[in-house]
């Protein structure tokens, strides 16, 4: 039976005859003689080699196991373990990047908030303290106004009471533009939570810029707490605190009130003792003046009390289109699940970008490596084939 091998028929016939001889059919005596002679020249396997091979086969070629290059990857328990390890490492990297991009700045802000409370050391003066760019000035700038003669007179006539201090602060925050509205709402809620109020607010937001300003009144006793809470709502660009001793103003108003009341009491006694209508008219006129003084002193005293009891806080929130560091924070610094999802999407986007860049670099490198591998294989094959070439005879 002829096979369609592409060989010349004569060649194919010769090869078929050879196959017949080698399978035991002794059709062609010449070929059979050649086959016998070739087989007769075949070296028998040395007994020593047979024993070595038997021993190696019986023990599973133990030396070969240690040299397996990538065979360890095929071991069943190792591949899942490596996959799990890779997944854990990936989760750690993603988690670390999310946490680093999220509330990391808050620690700095909280630290600032806790360390900027100011204490007044000089009565009757003003004290200002500022922190900008995350740094707190160590020595507060003090600008003291000398007490007026009226104040000194009032202080001298009144027993020294508790010091009255009017405090004010100014805070400039930056926040991502997408967070401007949330941050503005959080400012108002913070004021409300601390017993204060929003005196005035102005929020303007556009596509690429925006700003919100707030004029807050915060109970002075909770000013430091308020500043700390407000500082957590964004990136603190600057923070300034001022304080002014208004004890003299307070004392003066109280003294004037005391005097006016005393005058009124005296006038009322005099009015009771007056006998003529002229005296009555005169005393009544003076009573009107005394009452006016009392009202004015009461007003001043109320104003001083209010100034000492409520601190004025100006908050400016600036939307920074380039600032996305605070994107992981929600209302009052909380990290909500929705923002976590946004963070996860951001991280995946960045990871995909990195993967694309890495792929762009890896593909040419892989092609080069493939070419090098192919070239090396061709070279090895050719050099192996060259080993079969007869040596040139020595001259």
């Amino acid at each position: 039976m002829r096979r369609n091998t592409g060989l010349d028929p004569i060649v194919e016939q010769e090869l078929e005859a050879l196959d017949a001889v080698l399978t035991g059919e002794r059709g062609d005596p010449e070929l059979a003689l050649i086959a016998d002679e070739v087989r007769a020249t075949a070296p028998p396997m040395p007994p020593g080699l047979a024993l070595r091979l038997e021993a190696a086969a019986a023990s599973g070629f133990p030396k070969a196991e240690g040299r397996t290059r990538l065979g360890w990857l095929r071991r069943p328990p190792l591949l899942p373990a490596l996959s799990a390890l890779a997944a854990v490492l990936l989760a750690l990297v993603v988690g670390a990047s999310v946490l680093r991009g999220g509330p990391g700045d808050n620690g700095t802000v909280s630290q600032l908030g806790g360390g900027t409370s100011s204490e007044l050391s000089t009565p009757g003066g003003a004290n200002s303290e500022s922190a900008a760019g995350g740094a707190t000035s160590a020595a507060p700038t003090v600008a003291l106004a000398p007490p007026t003669a009226e104040d000194a007179d009032a202080i001298g006539r009144q027993a020294p009471g508790p010091r009255r201090v009017r405090r004010a602060a100014e805070l400039i925050l930056s926040t991502p533009i997408a967070e401007l509205q949330d941050t503005s709402d959080a400012v108002a809620r913070t004021a409300d939570r601390l017993g204060g109020r929003v005196q005035r607010s102005d929020v303007s937001a556009g596509d690429e810029s925006g700003q919100a300003t707030f004029d807050l009144r915060i109970p002075t006793a909770r000013l430091d707490e308020a500043l700390a809470a407000l500082s957590e709502l964004g990136h603190v660009q600057s923070r300034t605190q001022r304080s002014q001793d208004i004890t003299a103003r307070f004392t003066s108003a109280r003294s004037r009130l005391h005097d006016a009341r005393a005058e009124r009491r005296a006038l009322l006694r005099a009015l009771a003792e007056a006998v003529t209508s002229q005296e009555n008219a005169s005393i009544n006129a003076r009573l009107d003046i005394a009452r006016a003084r009392i009202a004015a002193a009461k007003g001043d005293l109320f104003g001083a009390r209010r100034a000492a009891g409520l601190a004025r806080v100006n908050v400016t929130v600036v939307a920074d289109p380039n600032d996305d560091e605070g994107a992981g924070l929600g209302d009052e610094g909380r990290w909500t699940p929705g923002q976590a999802l946004d963070d996860a999407v951001d991280v995946l986007s960045v990871a995909a970008g990195v993967a694309i860049v890495a792929l762009a670099a890896a593909i040419p490198a892989a092609l080069l490596a493939l070419l090098a591998l192919l070239a090396w294989r061709v070279y090895r094959r050719r050099s192996r084939e060259l080993a079969l070439e007869p040596r040139a005879p020595a001259v």
Partner: protein, 172 residues
Amino acid sequence: MPALAVAPEPVNTEPPAFDALYREHAADVFAYVMSLLRDRASAEDVTMAAFERAFRRRESFDPRRGTERAWLFGIARNAALDELRRRKRVAPLLGDLADDAEGGEQDDPLRRAAVRAALAGLDPRERELVSLKFIAGLSNAEIADVIGTSATNAGTRLHRVVIKLREACREA
């Protein structure tokens, strides 16, 4: 109560396929390697190394790319050629095969001597073909797989070798 006989545990836990392959072809592989190297000690080492390589790579064997025999002889060939490259020389044309030959039927000693001389005069590539065909009994397609050529080319080259041997036989 009779003592239980403890049977020795087999050390080799591999499936019998490789064991059978080794037992069936070890002698042929050695003869083939010997025909390339013409050095008994080197042939023993290379044969050993070839079976170790085959054992290591046994999972990479793909039946779609050829028979197990062709795969095994291919590994042996590469090992032998690597050894030849390492020695930076080609095997001598005349080795000690003739001394080991047991001889066939002594009905035509002259022609047999002529065939032996012709065999000794073959170049390494021809000698390789003879070894793979006559001793190992590989088919032409298997030979083509081993030496990395087409079956047609392998058949043609084998035919030329047979013609050479025939001519030597007829000239005697």
